[in-house]
């Protein structure tokens, strides 16, 4: 468990990356975990809006909730802003890859939905 709340994860949650609203957003997605109250709102700008194969060029987000959900969204935001990925590519991202991104080695069953909140919000969008 002490492995769970390691310094990298806590840092990520304390200093969320790419946090904030985006005035120029072309797409705004919201996701919640009803059972625990975690929530994220994600603002997206694409290279070519309307083309599902077009990469995301800017992603910002706002959210509240547990450390896992917020740190995972923050790490995901950093990755997306660095690599210019498409929503289609994000659909192939696995839970393991997200865990690695946060330096997590194990996560209990009950926390998986916290970890996946941001990713699910992006990949279940009707924009796709």
């Amino acid at each position: 468990m002490n492995d769970l709340y390691h310094e990298q994860l806590l840092e990520e949650a304390r200093h969320p990356q790419h946090a904030g609203q985006l005035a120029a957003a072309e797409l705004v997605l919201t996701g919640t975990n009803a059972s625990c109250g975690d929530e994220v709102t994600i603002y997206l700008k694409f290279e070519t809006f309307g083309d599902p194969l077009s990469p995301i060029i800017v992603l910002t987000w706002l959210g509240r909730g547990c450390v896992i959900s917020q740190a995972a969204m923050s790490a995901l935001a950093r990755l997306i802003n660095q690599r210019k990925v498409t929503l289609n590519e994000l659909q192939k991202m696995t839970q393991n890859e997200l865990e690695e991104l946060l330096g997590l080695t194990e996560i209990s069953l009950g926390r998986v939905k916290c970890l996946l909140l941001g990713l699910k919000t992006l990949t279940t969008s009707t924009y796709l």
Partner: protein, 412 residues
Amino acid sequence: MFDPVKLQLDFPILQRQVHGKRLVYLDNAATSQKPRSVIQAISNYYENHNANVHRGVHQLGDESTQLFHQSRQKIAIFFGAKVEELVIVRNTTEAINQVAMTWGQEHVRAGDTILLTEFEHHSNLVPWQILASLVGAQLAFVKVTEDGELDRADFRHWVQRESKIALFAISHVSNALGTLNPLLELKTELLAKHPQAKMLVDGAQAAPHLPVNFKELGADFYVVSAHKMLGPMGIGGLLVVRELLSELRPFFTGGGMIDTVDWQETAYAEDLEDKFTAGTPDVASLSGWAAACEYLSQLGMKKLADHDHDLVAHGLNSLAAVPELKLVGSPSATHRVGSVAFIYHGVHAHDVGQVLDSEGIAVRSGHHCTMPLHTKFGWAATVRASFQLYNSTEDIDQLIAALAKVKTIFGV
């Protein structure tokens, strides 16, 4: 002398460790652990007596049928009810759904009011939403005050204002806040203006802790789940006042509950117990539940209620001394049963729960199936520690000690 630590020996699961630490189980409002006598009653049924009831003319069939009746009898006596007033269901949720879909559909009319409270579990809310939309009735909610009490002035307001309240559905003890409700006083006030109104009481969180006498509570329907009171999962009870039950249409129909069956129509069994037992009953679970009632009765529900009161009082005092916490619900143990709940400033309830788990302490974090109540007070999620007879004040002290680790990790 009541000794919870000694009673822990009766519960095999409490002997195990979690993350190398002694298990401190404080999630009893979600489900309780089971004493050996309950586990043995279930395995004894399958090892020695298993056969379908009321059918085969053979020894095992007789034994199973006898166990079925004896178990029903013990459970009914435990609740101060007549045995025919007990309808066996899977759980509290199913019981409420059955009342909504049978009595509700027949008696609640367009324009009637179904009165609820703001601290009902979703299981005592969603079925009424559906009934209301089916028959054109409306829902009204008695307010809950900041310190977790039912707002009596608001109750009076609804009772006086509404032209016809068909049903008042309320928890005996709130699962999220632990509030004990004055059922009889409320019923008396309700009937003075609405003589036809019925009262359904969700007893899920009261039955594990308090002496419950169905005859004295003023409830027309009283619903419970076995698993919260040391019994097995998947079985529960719907208690219905006899006169009301005899007029009720059975929710489940089919084998076992009939008198005569024709191609086109069926006459139901006259015997209420038969009429409301469609299909093969779960005799093993029923035996387990009866064993749980026996275990509780032997210890004495009055004594258990006193013990629970001590735990709640100790819990409230201890939590109030932790500056990082905000208590939710009543700060006094006087009308509080079974649990204490809190918010840790700056740390999400799930993170608190996870850190406590690493210390072997099991609590519940979330909205405890009372989402509108949490939204009303602006609580994202709360942490609840809930008790059973095997918990001691040391368990609570261990919870408090483990909360220090939350501070260390999150630095707030």
